[in-house]
């Protein structure tokens, strides 16, 4: 199991949720995981229903069995100051640079530099050991940028090597790439069973593979439960409306004759079934596309009551059941 688990996905697929559930799932049996956020959205804090996370590793959840989940929202500016402090002991000068806008410059406009700082911080956490020589975190889970940008984000080497040919940033980029391209890392993509996200997932995998980044698993999120099976779908097309009306009536929902309450339910219910069928067919097509990608495929259910903290634990249990941890 790779120690750095990167989670990406199209916007709206719930990648932050899946990343958080994965961090919880990996934190079983006294293990310790770090959940890292890189886009300054405070999505983790919202998900765990806590106040905004500072640039500081802090415990946000306890997993069943005594494991712990820590979270860190990486701020590129602070990461750069951190880095300057670490390598150049630039305390006051660092602040002066910030005043001049140099930090802002370096972290926003110097392309790739920002990303090196973000991925660099995550890789540092992966490699960090405590005094006894044990890894500080068993796993680091990164809530990465969306699929469309993730390859560029992770492939900092190409970005930075073209610009900084020597110097510590160059070296840092090299060190980061060694971790990211090794089996230590796995990049998972979250998708929905819809055309656009599936297409983006296929494109994203091709890009990751071209960049020789290790692709992990495809996780289909928010999968709707199967309510009608194939036999039902077949019958929906041929069934007599009157016999459905009678069944509804028998179930205690009113009269089956024309204008009766049960009869009035038949059309709307069959209409909903037709929509279900259409969606089901589309979902099956998309599932087939995903299967062809040749990667381990996992499905997480859509939670009936929407996403909340309890739901997160439910998804973590599901991920554990499916062998992701």
């Amino acid at each position: 199991m790779s120690r750095l688990q990167v989670v990406s996905g199209k916007g709206g697929t719930g990648k932050t949720t899946v990343a958080a559930a994965l961090a919880l799932a990996l934190a079983t049996e006294g293990k310790r995981t770090l959940l890292v956020e890189v886009e300054g959205r405070q999505g983790i804090a919202q998900l765990f229903e806590t106040e905004a996370l500072p640039y500081e590793e802090r415990k946000i959840a306890v997993a069943p069995g005594g494991g712990e989940v820590y979270a860190l929202a990486i701020d590129p500016e602070l990461a750069l100051l951190d880095y300057l402090q670490m390598f150049y002991k630039l305390g006051g000068a660092g602040r002066a640079l910030k005043k001049l806008g140099a930090i802002d410059f370096a972290t926003t406009i110097a392309p790739g530099l920002r990303d090196v700082l973000l991925t660099g911080k995550a890789c540092e956490a992966v490699r960090r050991k405590d005094r006894s020589g044990r890894f500080a975190y068993d796993y680091v889970v990164m809530d990465a940028p969306p699929t469309g940008r993730v390859t560029r984000f992770l492939n900092v080497n190409d970005e930075v090597a073209g610009l900084a040919k020597i110097g510590p940033i160059h070296n840092q980029a090299q060190a980061v790439m060694r971790v990211l391209k090794s089996p230590e890392t796995a990049v998972h993509l979250v998708t929905l069973l819809e055309e656009m996200p599936v297409q983006e997932t296929a494109d994203g995998i091709a890009e990751l593979r071209a960049a020789r980044l290790p692709v992990g698993r495809v996780i289909v999120n928010m999968v709707r439960p199967q309510v009608l099976d194939a036999a039902d779908l077949e019958l929906v097309r041929t069934v007599e409306r009157s016999s459905v009306a009678q069944a509804l009536s028998a179930a205690g929902l009113g009269g089956a004759r024309r204008g009766g309450n049960a009869e009035k339910l038949v059309n709307p219910l069959l209409e909903q079934a037709a929509e279900y069928t259409e969606r089901y067919t589309l979902e099956q097509e998309q599932r087939a596309v995903l299967t062809e990608l040749g990667l381990p495929l996992h499905e997480l259910p859509r939670l009936a009551e929407g996403m909340d903290l309890a739901g997160l634990y439910e998804l973590a249990t599901e991920l554990r059941k499916q062998g992701l941890s």
Partner: protein
């Protein structure tokens, strides 16, 4: 006690609708699209809520109502782009064929690098432009600066507006890290290129060793020293060359950024926040509403996409589930005496149950009428479970929406019913346009 519980629950639907009407102002898109004073419509919102589709559908609708429209999309799904006939990413507005009526629809996809290149080419002499375009720093900046896409979208919007060839421009905003990014981008890039650091970096070239600049030069050498160490000397030289070239060619980058920003505040601009009835999307929408107000940007309303309804809204999830259990438990359904009488309840008599051929009709070759009846029961139970699921989804969506409305009752809203499939052609976009304009709440009950 009513003998028929379904009957009793039916009237409850009316007050429910009334409440929905009064809970928020209703956004009417047609007057907005028809008003010749509306020149720009900006669709914004978080990713995955159907922003691009909404922009395209509004554009088509406006065109078919007689206006000359251009839709600027940022990163459309292939099939959506194809549905409008813009499968090539060439940064030029193309006429969309197959629209109805007197208006025109044009569509284009933003190529941010090309837009940036065009800006450079338009503002620098050929030699300088070539030097800038070849600069590695420029190449990275134009392709990768966090905000370049947002800035270029605004730049393109400014260009399209100043060409004055269209009476309406519909813009889709980039899928940003945060929906707010595109508002900040023009300012950020403007202030960056105009900032102290840039002046420092370009100072040696422009000011030489002027005495008064000694202080700056100290800062400069400290700066370049540190940045040089950090990034490598060559990079810094590239940055300096680049910045010097940009600085002299662009001059008023900030002025351009400010002009774009003012364009967004102008009365002819209308912002539409697009969201889906989900917690995160509506939270983002609320941020956006607040931010637009703070920036005095003209928000006209919220488009709530993918709202579910039900034609059987009077049947609650609980009753549907209870009925499904009745049907699935043969001991109850097949009980002789009283319960079986349900199937022949006074209500049903005179309809058709007694005529066996009709019951058997769906699958005459397959087993006995009793078998068929059982599979119809099973199917009906499935239909009821499906309905229960729909009603729960519907309730959750309403709660989420109502929380938003409580926070922002001033925001007019239009709900767009969910479609089971994706949009692939103009007919699909037209259908969404109809749904956008059908503001009567009962319309949402059909889907």
């Amino acid at each position: 006690m009513s003998p028929d519980p379904a009957e009793a629950s039916e009237p409850a639907q009316e007050p429910e609708r009334a409440r929905r009407l009064s809970s928020a102002r209703v956004l009417d898109v047609d007057p907005l699209l028809d008003d010749p004073k509306t020149r720009i419509v900006v669709c914004c919102g978080s990713g995955g809520v159907g922003k691009t589709t909404t922009a395209a559908a509004l554009g088509l609708r406006a065109a078919e109502r007689g206006r000359k429209v251009v839709v600027l999309t940022i990163d459309p799904a292939r099939r959506l782009a194809q549905s409008m006939g813009i499968d090539s990413l060439d940064n030029v507005p193309r006429r969309v064929k197959g629209t109805e009526g007197d208006g025109e629809l044009h569509a284009m996809m933003l190529d941010m690098k090309r837009t940036f290149d065009e800006v450079v080419e338009a503002h620098a002499d050929p030699a300088r432009a070539a030097a800038i375009l070849a600069n590695p720093f420029y190449q990275s900046l134009s392709a990768g600066f966090a905000g370049t896409q947002e800035y270029m979208a605004m730049e393109k919007l400014g260009q399209l507006r100043s060409r004055d060839e269209w009476d309406l421009i519909v813009v889709d905003t980039p899928p940003s890290r945060s929906a707010l990014d595109f508002l900040d981008a023009p300012k950020r890039l403007g202030s960056f290129l105009d900032g102290r650091l840039i002046r420092l970096l370009t100072a040696p070239a422009k000011l030489g060793g002027r005495a008064g600049m000694a202080f700056l030069n100290v800062g400069m050498s400290m700066m370049t020293g540190t940045l040089g160490k950090l990034l490598g000397g060559q990079l810094l030289k590239d940055v300096q060359t680049f910045v010097a070239a940009m600085d002299t060619t662009f001059g008023g980058f900030r002025t351009r950024a400010d002009a774009t920003y003012k364009l967004l505040q102008a009365p002819g601009t209308a912002f539409l926040v697009v969201a889906a009835p989900e917690r995160d999307a509506l939270r983002e929408a609320a941020y956006f509403v607040e931010r637009l107000a703070a920036e005095r940007m003209p928000l006209v309303g919220l488009v709530l996409n993918r709202v579910h309804g039900s034609g059987a809204g009077s049947l609650s999830a609980e009753r549907a589930l209870a009925a499904a259990e009745n049907l699935e438990d043969p001991r109850i359904v097949d009980q002789g005496g009283g319960k079986a009488g349900l199937r022949n309840s006074p209500d049903t008599q005179g309809s058709s149950h007694s005529s066996a051929p009709e019951t058997a009709a769906p699958a005459p070759e397959e087993g006995s009428p009793a078998d068929t009846e059982r599979s119809v029961d099973r199917l009906t139970a499935g239909l009821l479970r499906l309905h229960a699921e729909r009603m729960r989804l519907l309730a959750r969506e309403r709660r989420t929406r109502d929380r938003f409305t409580a926070r922002h009752p001033e925001v007019a809203m239009v709900e767009v019913p969910a479609l089971p499939g994706d949009v692939h052609d103009l007919a699909g976009l037209r259908d969404i346009g109809d749904r956008l304009a059908a503001r009567r709440p009962e319309r949402t009950e059909h889907i």
